[in-house]
Symmetry: C2
Subunit: 206 residues, 2 copies
DNA sequence: GAGAGAATCACCCGAAAGGGGGATTTTAAT
DNA sequence: ATTAAAATCCCCCTTTCGGGTGATTCTCTC
């Protein structure tokens, strides 16, 4: 008997998953919470085997909640839930101890398979989510790390400030700002401001 | 008795809304479809009062489906369904005859209110969705129209080409390219290339 | 056929960006 | 203590950008 608990702020999703699971013989509906604190409240006196968790919730982030739950109750398998393929979040969830990730538009069969897989200690990915994760890693790991200063200056360039203006704003020499700017161009391998800003916006660097 | 039909490709959402509505005395569950064609199939021999419709579906777009349903069966009130506040889609749905828009993370009360409102010929918006629509209109309708040439040159600037390079590429005088570039800055009310490209990418002008 | 935009081309000029070349200091990690 | 990386600063030079101010041609609309 697998006890399943769900944390999601969407009543529709809770009801939907409840409905999909209610006739399953080997699954027991442990309950639900609509935010992080009521989730904590439940686990003080109760437990569950698999925890379905929305990644985007008001108040505490699903990623953060995932981390805490995993530290407090390492025996619980966490399955991330989301509507869209968000590679970035998938990666963060996995880094914070999730055992898998499933899209809310999955079929009943996929949902059951996911629950069984993670309950046995396995890792499960919705086909599409797996693709998203791969794409994310491909597109982002090969992106060089920017230093905090570089990110700061990149943001100011994107705001439309010139080197002298940025220098005045953050109390630096215009020469320094120019150096950082040139480093940005070199690191990100772009020719000029136009392609720099385009890359920055598209890769959500700012 | 309000007959409610739902078109959505997410089983979870269908189940969830069904579950939320099943004990309502004045609401009758007409059925559901998971794509546009099975929706058409249903309405050949049946009808409904309120049609809940996801905006993003595989195959035919919700916006497109909304338009067709509204033309074929003008007596049916359509209520758009989406997970996120997508001002652009909200606007398109309304232009295509929807009577309102509700977020999937709405409460049961809000959902019922929405159904009743549109069934009486009214217009309903989730509080957040209304905000999103306003924001969208504010941010997008005041965006000046760009001529085809300007769009072309904007795209090339975003690719990282300089005026002389663009001139050579599309067989124009560098002066002309420069004129277009200056017009872009003026029309979009930005100071320099950095803010131009940022705006262009964020507003999906390229 | 008058007028409005779009598209084209032209010049002046100062400011900013970008390609080099250096340098020192601070900070973090080993 | 050593090393690496980040952060700071400086100057050379050429190209590009951006502001201002013009112009002509074409096309479409009213």
């Amino acid at each position: 008997m697998i006890r399943v608990f769900i944390v999601d702020d969407h009543p529709v999703v809770i009801e939907g998953i409840h409905s999909l699971l209610q006739n399953e013989k080997d699954i027991e509906w442990a309950g639900h919470a609509m935010n992080a604190s009521s989730c904590f409240g439940y686990f003080v006196n109760n437990t569950a085997d698999v925890l379905l968790m929305d990644i985007s919730m008001p108040g505490m982030d699903g990623v953060e909640l995932c981390k805490i739950m995993n530290e407090k109750y390492p025996g619980i398998f966490i399955l991330g839930l989301s509507t869209f393929n968000q590679g970035l979040y998938i990666k963060k969830m996995m880094e914070n101890g999730a055992s898998g990730y499933i899209l809310k538009n999955s079929s009943k069969e996929e949902l059951l398979k996911a629950i069984h897989t993670v309950n046995n200690g396995g890792i499960f990915f919705s086909g599409e989510a797996g693709e998203a994760l791969k794409e994310y890693q491909k597109s982002s790991t090969q992106l060089p790390e920017l230093s905090p200063r570089e990110k700061e200056i990149l943001a100011l360039i994107a705001e439309g400030f010139t080197n002298p203006q940025i220098a005045e704003k953050i109390f630096l020499s215009p020469f320094t700002v120019d150096s950082h700017r040139k480093n940005l161009l070199a690191k990100l391998n772009v020719k000029n401001t136009a392609s720099l800003i385009r890359l920055a916006v598209e890769k959500k660097l700012i």
